[in-house]
């Protein structure tokens, strides 16, 4: 790891200013940044430690929704009683992420900034080509080991999978990222790779995530996060689904449905086609399974990750049907 200087921010403004300088990066829980610095992917000149800032870890919930401070830690949010009862998918996505230790370190803001697990991206000393690290350098993953790579949202420049769980839930429920005074929808915060996979987030120099805001909804209240993976725990998703469901008073017709996919796309992936196909329809297994296939419309595989195209719709269908069973 290169040496760097270390600053401890005393205020949000000071943090923003310090982090705007060339070579400076914000340091929160460190579970991504220190890891990537050891890999030689992140090469900061200055780390601006924001973990000692006060007041940024609050979790506020009222009838309009939840506001979770950027420095609230994943484990605390997962165990928060009101989050568990009013936004169950958020709690489920968080407690199934990483390990208890990492969840105690990692912050919500930092979690949004989590980088891909693409082994080529993570290994600059052995693979110089990576458009995500160095624009225009090429993609080592294409033609390589791809079982964990994305099938949705890919481009010729990058097929790296977005590995996070929480943001998958956030896009399903129209959450907003607060960058101080600027608010942006989570779905817009994450960028598709296109020809610029080095640019992953719609965040400008000098900006800092201060909170996320999740509006209340009946669908969020009746929601789940289903994560399928190779190991039972401490493992990234092979495919996951965040689902929220609101039924009409008849108890069988779908009034509102939210679906997002994790583990299969280059960013948290809202499956609006599935939602549209099922809204207003009666919730029944065949219709749900058929509609869930729309989740992977346009998917492109690179060999070993083909199974994700089969798996993801099944995960979606299972999650929707599971929500249907909860009265």
């Amino acid at each position: 790891m290169r040496d760097f200087s270390y600053l401890r921010a005393t205020s949000v403004d000071a943090a923003r200013q310090a982090a705007a300088l060339p070579g400076a990066m914000l340091l929160a829980g460190g579970t991504t940044l220190i890891d990537l610095a050891k890999c030689g992917v992140a090469e900061p000149d200055t780390l601006v430690d924001i973990t000692h800032l006060k007041g940024l870890d609050r979790i506020e919930i009222d009838e309009r929704g939840a506001i979770i401070g950027a420095l609230a830690r994943m484990g605390h949010v997962a165990d928060h009683d009101d989050i568990k009862s009013r936004f169950p998918a958020i709690s489920e996505a968080l407690w199934q992420a990483a390990s208890a230790q990492i969840r105690n370190m990692a912050t919500i803001g930092g979690n949004l900034m989590q980088r891909t697990r693409c082994p080529y991206f993570r290994d600059p000393s052995n693979f110089s080509a990576c458009n995500k690290r160095v624009s225009g350098s090429g993609c080592s993953a294409i033609g390589g080991v791809t079982r964990g790579h994305a099938v949705l949202g890919t481009s010729d420049a990058c097929i790296a999978m977005y590995p996070g769980d929480l943001a998958t839930v956030l896009v399903a429920f129209d959450a907003t990222v607060r960058l101080g005074d600027r608010h942006i929808r989570v779905d817009d915060f994450f960028l598709l790779p296109g020809t610029t996979p080095d640019r992953e987030h719609a965040i400008e120099p000098g900006e800092m995530i201060t909170a996320i805001e999740i509006p209340s909804s009946a669908a969020a209240h009746r929601s789940t996060y289903l994560k399928v993976r190779d190991r039972q725990s401490y493992e990234f998703a092979a495919a996951s689904a965040a689902v929220g469901l609101e039924l009409e008073s008849d108890g069988r017709t779908i009034r509102d449905l939210r679906v997002a996919l994790g583990g299969v796309a280059t960013k948290p992936w809202r499956a609006r086609a599935v939602e549209a196909a099922l809204k207003g329809k009666v919730l029944e297994p065949e219709a749900v399974r058929a509609a869930s296939l729309l989740a992977v419309e346009g998917a492109v595989d690179h060999g070993a990750n083909h199974y994700k195209i089969e798996l993801a719709p099944r995960v979606v269908a299972r999650a929707i049907l599971k929500m249907g069973e909860t009265a």
Binding site: D3, A100, Q101, Y234
Partner: protein, 160 residues
């Protein structure tokens, strides 16, 4: 060209204050092991993938390999060396010994620090919950069934 710059770092570890001159890139794990001789905390992967370096910061379990020492300044740090009091084993340590919850012993300090926190968090309510909330600590010897038994035993003792 890197210039060697160190900063003073005050660490509160197991009730003792230490002042070190460190490069900012030094992790808490390497500060414990290389600068302070607190080698009970182990390095298994150095990337947050095994849990061997688990310590408590402000009472919560975290990974020392992904924590900069400078970040931990001003926090209260507990390592495996700070768990036993006056030669008396912590109940979790005693349970690990009793249940044979380790073999080679290398992951054990991390397992024990994790287990103490797991119980304190209230995540040791059933075997299934223990397995899930102890999943961040790899054991290559395969002591898991006995680790679950030890955590269960210590959790029951703590509850009674």
């Amino acid at each position: 060209m890197t210039s060697k710059t160190t900063i003073p770092v005050h660490l509160d570890i197991n009730g003792q204050r230490h002042t070190l001159e460190l490069e900012p890139r030094v992790t808490l794990l390497d500060a414990l092991r290389d600068r302070l001789g607190l080698t009970g905390t182990k390095k298994g992967c150095d990337h947050g993938q095994c849990g061997a370096c688990t310590v408590h910061v402000d009472g919560e379990r975290v990974l020392a390999c992904l924590t900069l020492a400078a970040q931990a300044a001003g926090r209260t740090i507990t390592t495996i060396e700070g768990l036993a009091r006056e030669g008396e084993l912590h109940p979790v340590q005693a349970a690990f010994l009793e249940q044979d919850a380790f073999q080679c012993g290398y992951c054990t300090p991390g397992q024990i620090m994790s287990a103490v926190a797991c119980i304190r968090e209230g995540h040791a309510g059933s075997d299934e919950e223990i397995r899930e909330y102890m999943a961040g600590n790899l054991c290559r010897c395969g002591a898991y069934p006995h680790i679950v038994a030890a955590v269960r035993q210590a959790a029951l003792e703590a509850a009674s």
